[in-house]
Symmetry: D2
Subunit: 111 residues, 4 copies
């Protein structure tokens, strides 16, 4: 299965249900945030146990929902998600130069 | 540019900086949620103006950051993001049957 | 009912269930964020209809959950929530001087 | 300083800047969520180190911002935050009976 096939599946899922009418950018951004919280909820109270073997199925599903809404928002805005990521990785690489950022979890404003 | 190329770029960005040591699933899920909020922030106080022509550049960048962290979490868990989305779209299609969900923005629990 | 009484109720709710052991600051901060998302979910797909008469009951409940976790986090850190808000309002007033911020929804960095 | 005094300060802060016009419930709920993310950001990459002595000042400030927006939303909806919390604690107590929930971090749906 290729990425382009999933993009087409996501768009067809929306159009089969006539949901494009609800998909304004603001509510899609809200939806990305809500799904990201559902993903995060699987880690609530996991304390120092940061691994998650027994929760992998639900993590995978929540992660998929975040990505699906990302594709829907990109589609709504006429943007290519692959190109967006490629461009942002270049920009992030300039914000976090290898020699300064290597082995550090500090924010770029503190490097 | 293909999706697989961006996946490789994202992984190389992390490994060049020796950041894999910080990338436990819980903190990656937190990061997805934080980036989703930065995306949402571009729509704060936009009121009834749900369009966003003049903010498209920053929306695209924030959206890219959400997707990049999704790829990093999927990679950390050894999951294929394309397969995850494909599987979840099938499941969502069962939760939202076309005949019930068509033209409705209700949650599946209320259909 | 006074604020101090509710603070005591919240602490008693936690202690009756022996939950202090789970309440590390990081997971409490996650919980504040998760409850804030449940609050936000009541507004998903409300489109340009920014009012919410028929959802007021659930909004009130979700809002209460956010505030309850805020009190739990403040208590865990030994901080007084009333003092925290008082101090922050003073600081926000300096970030947003009346003459510059009046009638504007811009962020302080753009004023 | 009493809670009622801070409530009045928060309302005066808003009204001095003529910001009531922007404070529709949906954007206030978004703002609660955004501030909750800024609070959570102070814990990003803290790994198993769940304590946070050196970050307490910024945690207190971000926590205050979450609560301030909660008060603004409650005020906008004509709701009493103290009463909201009191009512919700009663409801949560029914969802999490002491004998079932004691010492468990499970969600009520799993108890």
């Amino acid at each position: 299965m290729r990425f382009e096939d999933v993009q087409a599946e996501v768009a067809a899922f929306r159009d089969d249900r006539d949901w494009r009418q609800f998909h304004n950018p603001k509510d899609l951004a809200i939806s990305v945030s809500l799904e990201a919280s559902e993903l995060l909820e699987t880690f609530q109270w996991s304390g120092t146990d940061l691994e998650c073997k027994d929760k992998e199925a639900s993590i995978g599903e929540e992660l998929a929902d975040v990505m699906i809404y990302c594709l829907l928002l990109a589609d709504r805005l006429g943007m290519d998600p692959v190109q967006l990521m490629h461009d942002k990785i270049q920009k992030n690489a300039r914000k976090y130069p290898v020699d300064k950022a290597r082995g550090s979890s500090k924010k770029y404003t503190e490097l």
